[in-house]
């Protein structure tokens, strides 16, 4: 029983990290219609940055914040390449973000080498109802919950957040009232970078990150985002938690080798079921 609870809590932590990656994907897709393949890259950039900054003796807190800001900058640059040029179709933008992800490989290897790096996080563990859980896992859950609450407030309550939603809701109308849709797209990319960066900073102490970790991260994030049809944050969060728990349980009960297949298989099934329900027209125009 306590083993089950441990797996559940660890799974929620893994799921929370996936949810942060996925929320970045959703924010960018909602505003620009682009699926950002470089979303995992933002987490990698932030993770590697923290590990370097902490290694240089920069204190905790400062290192993490700086790393997240670096990821936001990476997001902005990705956005400039992907949607900065007017008339780029969403599928072309996807291929451009793919290119950005590969370009990041080159930069990351030059700066950090090709070996995995880790960073110290919160030490120690807590016992909850007989289940031991690492403090860092609790931190991941807490920060993800806070991030989602802030996102909901930002999009639901602030003027800028509503303007971003407006771009997603009706880009033409957004232009009619004078909103610069392109600039909002760049903002969405920066926000996506920020969210990916938070995920990277939180995950690096749990499992070492190397330049090519982005594939696992983006695939998991995309799988979670697919639950919410790439537009609905709350369903995405639920999908991510489900995915995290399912993967951790699979690993905990001895099917660890098939963790990735579980996630990918789930993603394929969800996408195919969704495609069966949606008419082709809405997909082509989307």
């Amino acid at each position: 029983m306590s083993a089950f609870l441990t797996y559940l809590l660890n799974g929620l932590a893994v799921g929370s990290a996936i949810a942060l990656i996925a929320s970045g994907l959703v924010v960018i897709h909602r505003v620009t219609g682009v699926v950002n393949f470089a979303q995992g890259t933002f987490a990698v950039v932030a993770g590697l940055c923290t590990s370097s900054l902490l290694g240089l003796g920069v204190p905790h807190g400062v290192s993490e914040v700086a790393a997240v800001l670096a990821a936001a900058l990476a997001g902005l640059l990705t956005g400039l390449a992907a949607v900065g040029r007017p008339g780029t179709s969403p599928l072309s933008s996807l291929i451009v973000t793919l290119g950005v992800g590969v370009l990041a490989y080159a930069v990351e290897i030059v700066l950090w080498g090709d070996q995995p790096r880790s960073a110290p996080g919160l030490a120690g563990s807590v016992t909850l109802a007989g289940a031991r859980i690492q403090t860092q896992h609790l931190l991941v859950i807490g920060v993800a919950a806070a991030a989602f609450a802030l996102l909901a407030l930002f999009f639901g309550r602030t003027y800028l957040g509503k303007a971003l939603t407006a771009c997603a809701s009706n880009p033409y109308a957004a232009r009619v009232v004078g909103i610069d849709v392109r600039r909002m797209g760049l903002l969405a990319f920066a926000l996506g970078g920020l969210l990916g960066g938070i995920a990277g900073v939180l995950v690096t102490p749990l499992r070492p990150i190397s330049f090519d970790t982005d594939v696992t991260l983006i695939v998991n994030g995309f799988a979670a985002a697919v639950f919410g049809a790439l537009t609905r944050p709350v369903v995405t969060l639920a999908g991510a938690l489900l995915l995290g728990v399912a993967e951790t349980m699979a690993a905990g009960y001895g099917y660890g080798a098939h963790q990735l297949e579980v996630a990918l298989g789930l993603m394929l099934v969800v996408m195919i079921v969704q495609a069966g329900r949606r008419p082709a027209i809405s997909q082509e125009s989307a």
Binding site: Y159, A173, A174, V177, G178
Partner: protein, 219 residues
């Protein structure tokens, strides 16, 4: 207030507007008539700065707001949010002046725009345009798909704003009866060209205009 000289707009190789010249004076209400595909909405979008002309000049003295064809609201947002975003350019985020003008909108404030009736949506679009405190208003197809009573109500508001606040209006319409009733002057756009223009009463008397726009016109 609105001064268009020799305007040419093209999409790729197709020309949508060919050497269009028209003016709307300050405080004037002018109509632009024309069939589907004449280039009316292209002109509206060009005036709003959403389409770049191939040649010619567009001069607008003051702030211009567009009520686009088909309302074009933000369906996922509330009426209040739709109005607030209308103030993006002017910085006016408080919709209460618009509620004074159109009290019905205050009742609808918390409803999602996407679930409203056509007339209510057109009213939101009207209110949203007014949020930018415009000096000139371009209305693209005010009456399209609306019941006559609803159209008349909106038209009355428009006329009142023109009278009391000196709002300049370019009314783009297929409904010629409505256009001639509201505006003293009108232009007729066909296949991207201004084919005729002048006093509404005279145009209404022109047999060609009468047969094309008044004969079978649906109110």
């Amino acid at each position: 207030m609105i001064d268009v000289q020799d305007l040419v707009v093209s999409y790729g190789t197709a020309t949508a507007l060919e050497h269009v010249t028209l003016t709307v004076g300050k405080g004037e209400m002018v109509a632009l008539l024309g069939p589907n595909g004449a280039g009316k909405s292209t002109l509206a979008n060009t005036l709003a700065g959403l389409i770049r002309p191939a040649s010619g000049t567009v001069r607008v003295g003051g702030r211009l707001a567009l009520i686009p064809e088909g309302r074009q609201l933000f369906p996922d947002l509330t009426v209040a949010d739709n109005l607030a975003l209308g103030g993006w350019r002017s910085g006016q985020r408080d919709p209460s002046p618009v509620y004074e003008l159109l009290p019905r909108l205050a009742e609808l404030a918390s409803r999602r725009a996407g679930v409203l009736s056509g007339g209510e949506q057109q009213m939101v679009a009207f209110g949203r345009a007014m949020m930018s405190r415009p000096d000139a208003l371009v209305v693209d197809e005010l009456s399209l798909g609306l019941a006559p009573a609803v159209t008349a109500d909106l038209a009355a508001h428009l006329a009142e704003l023109n009278r009391t606040q000196g709002l300049t209006v370019l009314l783009i319409e297929q409904n010629a009866r409505l256009a001639f009733e509201l505006c003293r002057r009108a232009y007729v756009l066909e296949s991207g060209r201004v084919v005729t223009g002048g006093d509404s009463a005279e145009l209404a008397g022109d047999p060609r205009v009468a047969s094309a726009y008044l004969g079978g016109a649906i109110t």
